[in-house]
């Protein structure tokens, strides 16, 4: 059940039946989807010699009638309008249109109307409407998804488009996998209910013919959960490789932007972290920081050994061997430099922001109990100069989530201290968090302290002192 080969297959099928030199035209979202799974050299092998976005003003460019155009777009009304403009003044010999989701009939009619010169050879729906980052992990890259936290009474216009995008993305995943799932959603969340109901309507009523696949033995399950039920996990500092890079530097579509950091070599300013193309990353994606450091050191030693052995040329044979292995050598060199740069940047940040201490306190807030000790720890870290603003905010939020009801006075003290330290984080932020995801809003037993049995168990555990860096495990597995 891997997602990346699915999208690769779709793109292969798009390009293989069309002979001759081709141009691939994408929209800003499908560019991300395609770049994550397909590389430029793969495209060149398929004779696609130009990639453009559909926004480029078509009127100002000369016509290249020796190329055939392959359009891969999302079926939004924007794209249909831009396509109309393209079709009325076609620059290419033929047009093959592929849409990443279900087209509506009026859209087809509009396109048919604007195709006066009959350049369109085919229109197909290829359901690749998601960004497959890892083999078992995809994202829809919705940037304003905080909108679902506003109360549904208000019902902003962005909410409908957010739901639509989510439903479209989910539908395309299941169409690509050729399954129709059973849908379950979290009862207490309105957004989850809405998305689940719209998805179910799409799959079982509106397009039931399209979704009518052969029933397999273990049918799939679609579980729609609201993040507000577990607000603690995203607030913690992460210590596994991929999560840490995303937390400290930020990964977007498997690309990491290192431009803002000093002493990064020129060719490593923007790097690619992809489990498919990079073996070292695939092995070490989920390793914690300590093991990762050792593995990187081992990789560097191996590489130094390799480069030293290739330096002494005994005969023409050795030289010939070196020249023939040079591309491999260069690739390994680039890979080693990339990982070394990333790990060194991250360890510098850990040092600067004292993340070890901060993370220990965070883990204690998340797992152990003991309100007074926690209060002490949080206050001392708030006073510490080298802790960054965002970490202070996180600590106060975690404390507030845990000890919301226990001692409001101390909570207010912490709020004031936070506001005095970091001017941009007003205490209203933490209160908003409590309103959205406080004890009343959560359904599950996040901290394991709700029923009597758990309280007893916690008291017994509190008598033993056990320091571990990552004892927090995510609630989904509970």
């Amino acid at each position: 059940m891997v997602l990346i080969p699915l999208i690769r297959d779709y793109i292969d099928r798009m390009l293989q039946d069309i002979s001759g030199m081709k141009v691939l035209i994408l929209d800003p979202q499908t560019v991300g989807m395609v770049s994550v799974v397909y590389s430029q050299s793969d495209l060149l092998r398929k004779e696609v010699f130009l990639v453009e976005t559909v926004d480029d003003a078509s009127s100002s460019r000369a016509s290249m009638a020796h190329l055939k155009a392959v359009y891969f777009l999302r079926p939004s009304s924007d794209n249909v309008q831009k396509l109309r403009r393209h079709l009325s003044a076609p620059r290419f010999a033929e047009c093959h249109l592929f849409f990443s989701n279900i087209l509506k009939i009026p859209q087809i009619q509009v396109l048919a109307d604007s195709d006066e010169q009959e350049v369109v050879q085919q229109i197909q729906e290829f359901y690749a409407d998601f960004c497959a980052i890892d083999p078992f992990h995809f994202t829809l890259n919705i940037h304003n998804n905080h909108i679902y936290m506003l109360p549904t009474v208000v019902d902003p216009p962005g909410m409908q488009s957010f739901c639509d995008r989510a439903v479209d993305g989910i539908a395309s995943v299941f169409l690509a996998l050729k399954r129709r799932p059973v849908i379950r959603y979290q009862r207490t969340s309105d957004v989850a209910k809405r998305i689940a109901q719209e998805t179910s309507r799409l799959m079982y009523e509106q397009e039931s013919g399209l979704f009518d696949f052969r029933r397999t033995e273990n049918s799939s399950l679609l579980l729609v959960i609201d993040r507000r039920d577990d607000p603690v996990t995203p607030l913690l500092n992460q210590w596994t490789y991929q999560a840490m890079v995303h937390e400290l530097i930020g990964i977007e579509n498997n690309k990491v932007d290192l431009k803002e950091f000093a002493n990064v070599p020129k060719d490593q300013q923007e790097v690619v972290l992809s489990a498919v193309q990079d073996d070292f990353f695939r092995v070490n994606m989920f390793e914690n920081f300590g093991d990762l450091g050792m593995n990187v050191k081992r990789m560097v030693d191996d590489f130094q050994h390799l480069s030293k052995s290739s330096q002494n040329f005994q005969s023409i044979d050795d030289m010939a061997k070196f020249v023939s292995n040079y591309p491999e050598y260069r690739k390994t060199h680039g890979n080693v430099t990339k990982h070394v740069a990333l790990v060194s940047e991250m360890s510098r940040m850990v040092e600067e922001r004292k993340l070890m201490q901060v993370s220990q306190t965070e883990q204690e807030l998340a797992c152990a109990s003991g309100q007074a000790a926690a209060f002490e720890a949080v206050t001392s870290l708030l006073n510490n100069e080298s802790v960054s603003d965002i970490d202070r905010l996180r600590l106060v939020m975690l404390y507030a989530l845990r000890y919301e009801k226990e001692s409001p006075v101390q909570l207010m003290q912490l709020f004031n201290k936070l506001a005095s330290r970091s001017a941009k984080y007003k205490s209203g932020l933490v209160q908003f968090l409590l309103k959205q995801a406080g004890v009343d809003k959560r359904t599950g037993d996040l901290y394991g302290n709700r029923d009597l049995l758990n309280i007893a168990r916690n008291m017994a555990r509190g008598l033993k002192v056990d320091t571990k860096v990552c004892p927090h495990s995510y609630v989904t597995f509970a």
Binding site: E116, V120, K255, V323, Y326
Partner: protein
């Protein structure tokens, strides 16, 4: 994976709309929406179309046919021919390499003959292949020098893909040559002993046929001829090995040049979105530069001088004509 083909539906709408757009009587849009002959589907579609669109009737020599002709595959620019030549060359090199592999295998098999024909055939083939690869490389370099601006991206990408193919071909060729070299050297060490044996046997048989009177002199002569033959043989082998080594070096040079053009897989340069962004950025930059250049050119003194000179020329011509008339 599921897909759905919407082409038949699209074609149906397109044909229907074409008929709506240009029936023989040439009604305008408003009347077509009210005409009863269209049927409900056509009426529905006509209402979708913009009301101000003017549907001109298709005349017999319709201009749309010529524009449709332009929509068929037009004449590609000249550099496409060059790229097709390069790929044809590489195809030829591939077939020749298959032949070369067969010739290598044949030459390495132990044979009683001199094997000189095989060697020559191998030499010729090697030369041809190196020639083809060198020519392809030169043409590839030429491809980048031409300065047509419009489809420079397409040209760059074509160049990159050809460079990758060329590099893999050269590497294959070099590997084949080096294995042949190695096996040749192994054989030389073993074969020299065997060859000397054969030489001795051959000369001994001729010796037995000769008269006994020449025994003493003949013996030394036999030794001398033996030595000479083995020397000549060794020299020939050395020459061959040198040639093969030389072509290896040439190919290494080609590979070094090509490695500049080829993309490294897995790096940021290999990402489609990075290239699309950069293209957009550089096109914008280029546009800005062009605008700036235009402005400076207009403002510049050059235009002023040129206009002044032209005016002067006119005035002088008029004076000349006047002079002719008056005198």
């Amino acid at each position: 994976m599921a897909t759905r083909n919407r082409t038949p539906l699209f074609r149906k709408y397109r044909d229907a709309l074409r008929h709506v757009r240009a029936p023989a009587g040439a009604p305008s849009a408003s009347s077509s929406s009210s005409s009863p002959g269209g049927g409900p589907a056509v009426v529905e579609m006509a209402s979708l179309l913009r009301p101000d669109r003017n549907y001109a009737p298709l005349s017999t020599d319709d201009p749309s046919a010529s524009s449709r002709g332009a929509a068929t595959v037009g004449l590609p620019p000249a550099w496409v021919d060059v790229s097709e030549e390069i790929s044809a060359n590489m195809q030829r090199a591939k077939t020749k390499m298959a032949e070369l592999a067969k010739a290598h295998a044949k030459a390495l098999m132990p044979s009683f003959g001199d094997g000189r024909d095989d060697q020559r055939a191998i030499e010729i083939l090697t030369h041809e292949i190196t020639d083809l690869l060198k020519r392809s490389e030169k043409k590839l370099q030429k491809l980048s020098m031409k300065d047509s601006s419009e489809d420079s991206n397409v040209r760059k990408n074509v160049q990159r893909s050809l460079a990758t193919d060329l590099q893999t071909l050269s590497m294959e060729f070099r590997k084949k040559q080096s294995t042949y070299l190695k096996q040749l050297r192994q054989q030389k060490e073993g074969q020299d002993g065997v060859d000397l044996e054969m030489n001795m046997n051959g000369s001994k048989s001729t010796f037995e046929l000769e008269d006994d009177e020449f025994e003493d002199v003949g013996f030394t002569e036999v030794q001398m001829s033996k030595l000479k033959k083995s020397e000549a043989f060794t020299r020939e082998r050395e020459r061959e090995i040198e040639q093969v080594a030389q072509s290896v070096n040439e190919l290494a040079q080609i590979m070094k040049d090509l490695s500049v053009l080829v993309i490294d897989q897995g790096t940021i340069v290999d990402r489609i979105d990075y290239n699309v962004q950069n293209v957009a950025a550089s096109v914008e930059e280029g546009y800005k530069q062009l605008q700036k250049a235009e402005r400076t050119q207009k403002k510049g003194g050059m235009v002023m001088c040129a206009t002044v000179l032209v005016i002067l020329i006119f005035i002088l011509i008029i004076l000349l004509v006047l002079k002719k008339i008056l005198f």
